[in-house]
């Protein structure tokens, strides 16, 4: 590892960031993170995090933060268990359009009995939820591809608004749901918003197989080589080629300074996610300081910040329309 920029993200779900839609608090943290040079903010889901259960809709809050900022990535958690794939895909595609390609998605399941009770469902084994999540992530990717780049041609002379051959049905039928497509939203600027998942959850393999970013929990006291081993293991389990994924270590609150320095120096990770804590700027300063003089990102999108390619469109077959 270490061939890429060491990536630093700030997680905004910390209880000290007021969690009942104090927009100003979130916005201040995001602006501070952007000014400090962080690569993204992560709006986690209080509805899913154990022990809390208060919080605005993360994708919508991320849209608000995207509007307040201009460079930093905005990653929103969205749970798939009780969500509709089409709505998840169009919501995140909209976030990517609104932010000019700065959007990311942290895929979550909603495994607790308390969450099930909000949706009239019986709790299900986590493994089953992750399998279903894998299905959803796969289909969401197809929906993002269902409009080819440049499908909208707007030829006023001939009256052709769209090249219909470049709009595709996805025609998916699986155990949990079926969906015909195409999406209601054109392909996002990044092709696909960045897809991230916490790789430690048992059963998450179904999702890591589709993810761009694997997040692993990091014990700040752990030696660098142990973290590197765990990172390698996460990549191996995902089945993804190493160069196509980034592994980020998620640090618990407190005591991040030394840990980040050590991890960055050991080259064990592609980056870290630090919790905002009481003082987001201090949390970031430590993390950013330890990445040294980072090369500037290759471009303004979150993918470019992460050094990830823009994915090819699986449906791109039609040659460009004749004018």
């Amino acid at each position: 590892m270490g061939e890429h920029r060491f990536v630093v993200g700030l997680r905004l779900d910390d209880p000290t960031v007021p969690s009942t839609v104090d927009v100003a608090g979130y916005r201040r943290a995001a602006l501070a993170a952007e000014a400090a040079g962080a690569d993204f903010v992560l709006v986690d889901d209080g509805y899913v995090a154990a022990g809390r259960g208060v919080g605005p809709d993360p994708v919508m809050l991320a849209a608000r933060l995207a509007a307040a900022t201009s460079r930093i990535g905005v990653v929103a958690a969205a749970a798939v268990t009780y969500g509709e794939p089409l709505l998840i895909s169009s919501g995140l595609a909209t976030l990517d359009h609104l932010s000019d390609g700065r959007a990311g998605w942290l895929v979550l399941t909603a495994p607790t009995a308390a969450q099930a009770a909000l949706h009239g469902a019986a709790p299900r084994p986590e493994r089953e939820l992750w399998d279903e999540a894998g299905e959803v992530v796969d289909v969401v990717g197809r929906l993002w591809d269902s409009w080819e780049d440049g499908a909208v041609i707007r030829d006023a002379r001939t009256g052709r608004y769209l090249d219909r051959r470049r709009l595709h049905r996805v025609d998916y039928t699986g155990p949990a749901f079926s969906i015909a497509g195409p999406s209601i939203t054109p392909r996002p600027p990044q092709g696909h918003p960045v897809v991230a998942v916490r790789a430690d959850a048992s059963g998450s393999r179904a999702v890591t197989a589709h993810a761009d970013v694997l997040v692993i929990a990091v014990d700040p006291a752990a030696p660098g080589d142990a973290v590197a081993r765990r990172a390698g293991q996460a990549v191996a389990e995902s089945g993804r080629p190493r160069h196509q994924v980034r592994v980020l270590g998620e640090l618990p609150a407190g005591g991040t300074v030394g840990a980040v320095e050590r991890l960055a120096a050991a080259g064990a990770l592609d980056g870290v996610i630090v919790p905002a804590g009481d003082d987001p700027v201090a949390a970031l300063r430590a993390a950013l300081g330890s990445r040294g003089a980072a090369a500037p990102p290759a471009g303004p999108t979150l993918r470019e910040r992460l050094g990830l390619p823009r994915p090819a469109n699986r449906y791109a077959t039609a040659p460009p329309a004749a004018p």
């Binding site: 927009v23 605005p56 006023a156 969906i179």
Partner: protein, 441 residues
Amino acid sequence: MSGRQLHLALSAGVGGVHQGAWRRPDSRTEQWGTPELVIALAQETEAAKFDAFFLSDISAPNRALTRVQAPYLYFEPLTAAVAIARATSHIGVIATASTTFHEPYNLARQVATLDHLSGGRAGWNAVTSSVGEQNFGRRPWPDHAGRYERAAEFLDVVEQLWDSWEQDAVRHDRAAGVFADIDKIHPIDHAGTHFAVAGPLNVRRTPQGRPVIVQAGSSPAGRDLAARHASMVFTAQRELAEAQQFYRDLKSRARGHGRPDTDVAILPGVSPIIGDSAADAEEIRESLLDLVDQPTATARLADQLGGIDLSDIGFNEPIPVERLPAAGDIERRRSRFQIFADLAREERWTVRQLVGLEVASYGHWRLVGTAEQVAAELERWFLARGADGFVLMPPYQGALTRFYQWVVPLLQDRGIFRREYEGRTLRDHLGVSYPANRWAS
């Protein structure tokens, strides 16, 4: 200002509801589908002091149609609404979301989030949807009655969730370490036919108490839903007499549910073509029609008429009415079907005439004339209680600009439309009351 005031909302399509709109030279079509254009439209609409900016939802694009016609809107409405709220300060922001395809807990949370992020300007257009089932395959698609049954329980659950935090539940007591008074946060323990939802919501009570519920769907089942829950109704009405009948019916249903009828604002859609002169307006109308692809337009009409075959009928011939299904057999847009079927049956409209109505405004009221004529007609409907206001559905971009620059000042001069915002929330603009929390003692 005094007296009853007109309420205006803009239905924000990408750039005009007329099928031919995008082909006009002034259409800005290259920008359609960019967030910048939608945001600029919202800002122009706020400058015109409208009550609300309205985002519809399409659930599924029509591939055959989009070849020749711009999709109405590209974005997921709730997420787009956040960007619009941030770029404006007074205007209400209404996002459409389907009770057939969403989950009540998630949706209650999303709309509450919008109300917080907008400082009390959120509205939710609760529709039952007439298309899109192919994209929501977790459950079987209910029929017209079944969709409204689900909608009724859906709205009941959402309102309970919005009430689940009392106004003063959050204490912010730093010294005592008490964030919220949990005795004032209530589970809802709803167990019904369609939903079982424990609650409480994970978002505190919103600035408007409850965000505004808007309803669009005009069959009797739709009206009843509106009468119980909606503060604003969006409807398609073509004639004043029919509009008055709808208006009286809905207001009396609202009273029947124990609500003052001033708590439900009724806004028919209107699609005005505004000319320098009456002749100029006619000319614009004709030129728009010339830009429409005829086969696609006829297919749209056939669809609106319940999917009947029109392939053997000439463009200038009337509709063979014996082919029309009964309204009760229409499972999709039943109330809209009624508008087209009535014109075919009672007024013997030709394919050409009906296609003209469909491509211009989807069956909504069309107005063609000078700014003075348009303002006078709107006032006439308003004073005759055919409407409390209108949802403006501009046929093309230029019509919108003319409405703002020419028609709005005339309405203001007539003393029926605000010159400045007087309140901060969408409820304030609509003049509807703030609901009491069912838990408040």
